[in-house]
């Protein structure tokens, strides 16, 4: 699965994107955030307040209870400040 990061999530993690192979227990967006934070370092810092992280699956907003797709792009980012 492809993960992409934006704004301070990207800066704290230290990369803009990566490919990951998910362990079988990681099924929801919340699972993914917990698993990534467990990597420590920049991941732990970026995802410390997981509830603040916004997530999009294949370019659509989803909530943290959403199931992850079998394939595609999952994006993690802070609340938007455009407009």
């Amino acid at each position: 699965m492809k993960l992409v990061y934006f704004a301070w999530v990207r800066e704290r993690i230290g990369r803009a994107e990566e490919e990951v192979a998910l362990p079988s227990g990681v099924r929801t967006v919340a699972d993914l955030l917990g698993w990534l934070a467990g990597r420590g370092g920049g991941y732990a810092i970026a995802l410390e307040h997981a509830e603040a992280i916004r997530v999009a699956v294949n370019h659509e907003h989803v909530d943290h209870a959403a199931l992850l797709p079998g394939d595609g792009e999952v994006a993690l980012f802070p609340p938007m400040t455009g407009g």
Binding site: V4, W8, H59, E60, A75, M80, T81, G82
Partner: protein, 153 residues
Amino acid sequence: MACVPLVHVQAGDFSLAEEVRRLTGGRRDVGAVVTFTGLCRDEGGRLDALELEHYPGMAEAEIGRIAAEAAGRWPLTGLTVIHRFGRIAPGENIVLVVAAASHRRAAFEAADFLMDFLKSRAPFWKKEHAAGEAGVWVEATEKDRDDMKRWQR
């Protein structure tokens, strides 16, 4: 039938006059055009520039969804949304919404709705650059979320 919105996400500037002309030129059924232009402020001289990061692909898709929702909700004759990204200096344009309709209430409400939803749903992030400092990400406010709730029904 709902109008088909025009959506552009671009680094370059836009022309307000040209975008209005695109929705009114040669037509005789448009009675009201409301435009919103968002510009970069220097925050009392503090800011050198804003940097707008965006999520390519999703930015267009999400603005398109918000615009289609507005086009379904109000009887518009035309709707255009342009959002810039990249480095933007004080005084420069950031975002443009143009809503055209037969009657003024639809045009006002659609433009207002678009801006409230763009602020909180379109994947853009602003970083403030001030002289001699590292950039600081703008934080989303409670007010931004409250503004969206005005349109619940």
